[in-house]
């Protein structure tokens, strides 16, 4: 018997939609990790990234200001205003800065779910 590893997305329940301020962010605890969750009310879009700002290793992005640049959604870290794309996590204000990990978000019945990579062990024949 052999085992194969495949990566799939597993969704966990983060919070209610009403827990998240309009056009702002909150921090979600998932196991030992911290995920920043953002709600763009005007376009009804949700984004999630790591909460850690890679610049000075601070758990702060959920407290940053959200916005857009040329229509691309972004967040600015409250510490030194480095800005990151919420679409792909790349740093918009400094091309040498590390990118953020991003996570998919889905809303079901006013509940917010965040997708994390789950390594599934599948029994093969």
């Amino acid at each position: 018997m052999s085992t194969t590893h495949t990566t799939t997305t597993s969704w966990f329940l983060a919070c209610k939609t009403s827990d998240v301020p309009t056009n702002g962010g909150v921090c979600v605890k998932y196991k030992e990790e911290q995920i920043a969750l953002f709600y763009f009310a005007r376009r009804n879009e949700w984004y999630a990234t790591q909460n850690l700002c890679p610049h000075r290793q601070q758990m702060a992005l959920s407290r940053g200001m959200t916005g857009t640049v040329q229509d691309e959604p972004k967040v600015a870290c409250p510490f030194h205003k480095k800005t990151f794309s919420l679409k792909d996590g790349r740093c918009l204000s400094d091309e040498h800065e590390c990118s953020l990990t991003t996570y998919p978000v889905k809303i079901v019945d006013d509940m917010v779910y965040i997708g994390v990579a789950a390594e599934m062990e599948m029994a093969g024949v």
Binding site: V28, K29, R42, Q57, M59, A60, T66, G67, T68, K74
Partner: protein
């Protein structure tokens, strides 16, 4: 065509850049040998390595750039031999390359005077990043330092020692003054005093006879038999051209070194060029980067078949030495019989200015500026372009004192061929052309022309040229907030007021586009607060606030917050002090007295903030707005209630002022102070508005500033009573709030205000615009609407809920927060 470049310093790199741009049509093969282990870096800003810039930050171009350009770059591999007959070079690692043209940009080495003991441990030269690394490794063991050489580089090296934490540092200069090639005796005296006040001691006229110490250096023995004890020594006594390779190849060198070149930078072998600090043109070595770049341009042009000649170079220079401006331009000290000099010296401020003008008073020959070199660019251009001087040439140093007319016409008076950026040799004409072609921002102009990309000294002039060119085209210079709002802050304020808009969303709907961003959101939030003084976390405006305003506290290293209760005028009862102490103990907070007579409590977890404030408010405290662009503190001296010199009760007046303007939000923070007499213990003249008691009332000063660019406040009105004083402050603050650009302190606002202080006094005191009553009633509305924000949060469960780190685990604190201990209190863990 195949070109080999020996040397990958700043000038060698510049040559590569130039020859590539000139040979777009004819493919060339370019091979570069560099002795150092890394590609060319910015040696001019070497000291910034100590301020935290990494070696990579200093690179002029990454290794990838060389690959992209098809350049074969051999690093850590100096050329050892040139075979001129077969036109080949051979490197240390044994690489042999043929060449059609050879360019020697071997630079210079530090000149080390032949003094016994130079080989002792702790003696360094100051030239490469490797030198800095070795100095840094040795510095922790040293308590005192010395630098031999009081020239440009020597003073830079001294700064490096200070940056390494060696506060007891001496500069030792052989001649009788500092920077003997650039400044005169009198200027050197001023500079020495200024440096002494910054902790750097200077010894002039000292000839070092021996380096003392067994293995490691312990001191310097001078020829006058005095001794200077020191643990570390940096030698920066000048440069000597690296001409040994040329010499061995039989190329002509000067009697005191340097590879002899002609106007095309060719050496005695016409296939071999030499540029930069190793080249000797007209018996002169040019030890600055700008002439080196010009040599690179000339050599590249000649190889590419263009006609260009090097005919000497202006050695004018401006730099900041340890925070002190020093500039020298044109001929800084011509023979006395050939000119008149005008000298201005202010020993109090530590400024020295000298200009040398022709006997007929028509032209400027050169000069020296110390302590304040703001006029450098204009004076340099006036010298280089032989502009006719104004009737009173002293105005060039002192400004026009007779009226409001500008001194000269500024950048517009310069001819098109005037060189604005001397590093990259960019003319005024080229910059204006770029603007005319549609490049209307500084970044676009820099990218297109390269002006301002090297030392950056010409940036203010480039900005002025962009503005002037656009104005000349009849373009309205729009000072818009950001891509989401095509209005200036002042226009936004008027629009929001007219439409009575109350939330960021409404403002975006009416006047903006997109979602907003970290630039426009706080601007709009601040305008809303300045107009209506509503609770800033209401109406969805919480997420439009800057992070500190959003959580009504100041975020600190590690992600915890600091708490500053308001202590009006700095007056506090012992009972209230006890409460602060108890709260500090209970929540384990680091406590410190602030510069504004308040107490700061650091290290509070987000979720503890409402509990801390609940207790503070119960004890009679209210928010201190330390987190906002708002009125901070009104500092006071103890005044006539206790002080034997006090004229009036400064504490009572400070409390009255602070309670009137508490919570007032503005384009930037506002600080104030009240002093009870002319001794000025409250330092009111360094504040946005400051009040000083006089025999007959109060003197009101405005637009002062501490911070990075300190500026004294100026007298607005004298001997006024308390009511008039408050009336004027109402008008002044409201006028500032309504007209200033975002994040502009009152001092900067005044500096940009057309008509300056005279105009401001007319508006505030004489009501020249007829808006005084309106300004007063607008201020009164804000005063009447004041509420303590923290009280509102503490009493509102919905708002309290926002103060938790995890939305799905509200009672959990951020587990990554770490503290360390220092002097019996905690401190934030150092960040990476």
């Amino acid at each position: 065509m195949k070109i080999v470049v020996i040397g990958n310093g700043m000038v060698g790199y510049k040559f590569c850049e130039k020859i590539i741009s000139k040979s777009a049509d004819t493919p060339i093969e370019l091979v570069v040998f560099g002795e150092e282990p890394r590609p060319a870096y910015d040696r001019v800003h070497l000291t910034s390595w100590f301020d935290g810039k990494t070696a990579d930050d200093l690179l002029l171009a990454t290794a990838d750039w060389y690959v992209e350009q098809g350049i074969r770059l051999h690093l850590g591999d100096p050329v050892l031999q040139i075979d001129r007959t077969n036109k080949t070079v051979q490197s240390y690692k044994g690489i042999v390359e043929t060449y059609d043209y050879l360019v020697m940009a071997t630079g210079s080495a530090a000149f080390v005077p032949p003094v016994p003991g130079m080989d002792k441990k702790g003696v360094f030269i100051y030239r490469t990043i490797e030198d800095l690394e070795m100095m840094k490794a040795y510095a922790p063991a040293a308590r005192s330092g010395a630098v031999i050489g009081g020239g440009l580089l020597g003073l830079e090296a001294a700064k490096a020692l200070l940056d390494l934490g060696i506060n007891n540092t001496h500069v030792v200069e052989f001649s009788s003054r500092l920077m003997p090639r650039q400044i005169d005796e009198q200027g050197s005296g001023i500079l020495q005093n200024k440096l002494a006040s910054l902790g750097l001691k200077v010894l002039t006229g000292k000839n070092t006879r021996e380096i003392l110490g067994d293995e490691a250096i312990t001191g310097l023995q001078f020829s006058d038999d005095t001794i200077l004890e020191t643990d570390i020594l940096v030698v920066s006594a000048g440069i000597k051209p690296r001409d040994e390779l040329a010499r061995a190849a039989g190329i002509a060198v000067g009697p005191r070194g340097g590879i002899v070149v002609n106007e095309q930078m060719q050496t005695s072998d016409s296939f071999i060029y030499s540029i930069g600090e190793c080249a000797l043109y007209n018996n002169m070595i040019y030890g600055l980067v700008a002439p080196g770049y010009e040599m690179a341009e000339v050599a590249a042009s000649h190889i590419a078949g263009e006609a260009k000649a090097f005919t000497g170079f202006d050695m004018s220079t401006k730099l900041k030495l340890i925070g002190v401006d020093v500039a020298s331009f044109g001929d800084p000290f011509p023979a006395p019989e050939s000119c008149h000099s005008i000298v201005f010296e202010d020993k109090f401020k530590g400024t020295y200015k000298r200009i040398n003008i022709t006997h007929d008073g028509q032209f400027l020959l050169g000069g020296i500026l110390i302590g304040d070199a703001a006029a450098y660019n204009m004076l340099l251009q006036t010298t280089k372009n032989k502009l006719v001087l104004p009737a009173n040439p002293e105005d060039l140093l002192l400004g026009n004192r007779s009226g409001s007319a500008d001194t000269g016409a500024g950048v517009t008076a310069l001819p098109d061929e005037a060189i604005i950026c001397s590093c990259e040799s960019v003319s005024k004409g080229a910059i204006c052309q770029a603007v005319t072609d549609g490049r209307e921002t500084l970044d676009e102009v820099k990218k297109c022309t390269k002006a301002g990309t090297c030392c950056g000294g010409c940036t203010p002039m480039v900005k002025d040229l962009i503005t002037a060119t656009m104005k000349a085209q009849g373009k309205y210079i729009r000072n818009v907030v950001c891509e989401h709002f095509q209005y200036s802050r002042q226009e936004m304020l008027d629009l929001i007021k007219v439409k009575s808009l109350r939330s960021f969303d409404e403002v975006l709907d009416h006047y903006g586009s997109g979602e907003g961003c970290e630039v426009c959101k706080p601007v709009v939030a601040s305008i809303l607060a300045s107009l209506w003084n509503d609770m800033i976390l209401d109406k969805g405006n919480d997420t439009a606030q800057d992070s500190n305003d959003r959580y009504l506290a100041n975020i600190q290293k590690g992600g915890t917050y600091s708490v500053v209760p308001r202590i009006p005028g700095g007056e506090i009862t012992p009972e209230k002090l006890v409460v602060i102490g108890q709260i500090g103990t209970k929540y384990n907070l680091y406590t410190k007295i602030t510069g504004g007579q308040r107490i700061d409590l650091f290290g509070a977890h987000l979720s503890d903030l409402p509990n801390i404030w609940e207790e503070l408010i119960a004890a009679g405290f209210e928010s201190g707005h330390a987190y906002g662009k708002a009125l901070r503190t009104v500092k006071s001296c103890v005044g006539s209630t206790w002080c034997r010199f006090g004229l009036h009760d400064s504490v009572s007046f400070a409390i009255r002022i602070e309670e009137r303007y508490r919570g007032l939000r503005a384009p930037h923070k506002i600080k104030s102070a009240v002093s009870g007499c002319i001794r000025e213990c409250a330092e009111a003249q360094s504040k946005d508005f400051g009040i000083i008691a006089t025999e007959r009332g109060w003197n009101l000063y405005v637009c002062g500033n501490g911070g990075s660019k300190p500026q004294h406040a100026q007298l607005l009105a004298s001997d006024i009573d308390s009511e008039t004083c408050i009336q004027y402050i109402d008008r002044f603050l409201m006028f500032y709030i309504k007209t200033a650009d975002p994040l502009t302190r009152t001092a900067t606002w005044l500096n940009k205000l057309d008509g300056g202080m005279d105009y401001l006094r007319n508006v505030v005191v004489n009501d020249s615009l007829g808006i005084a009553t309106q300004l007063e009633s607008e201020m009164q509305l804000l005063v009447d609407n004041y509420k303590c924000e923290w009280r509102e949060v503490v009493e509102n469960p919905e708002l309290r809920k926002r103060f938790s780190h995890f939305v799905n685990a509200p009672t959990d604190k951020d587990p990554t927060v770490k503290f360390e201990t220092m002097r019996a209190q905690k401190k934030a863990a150092e960040w990476k």
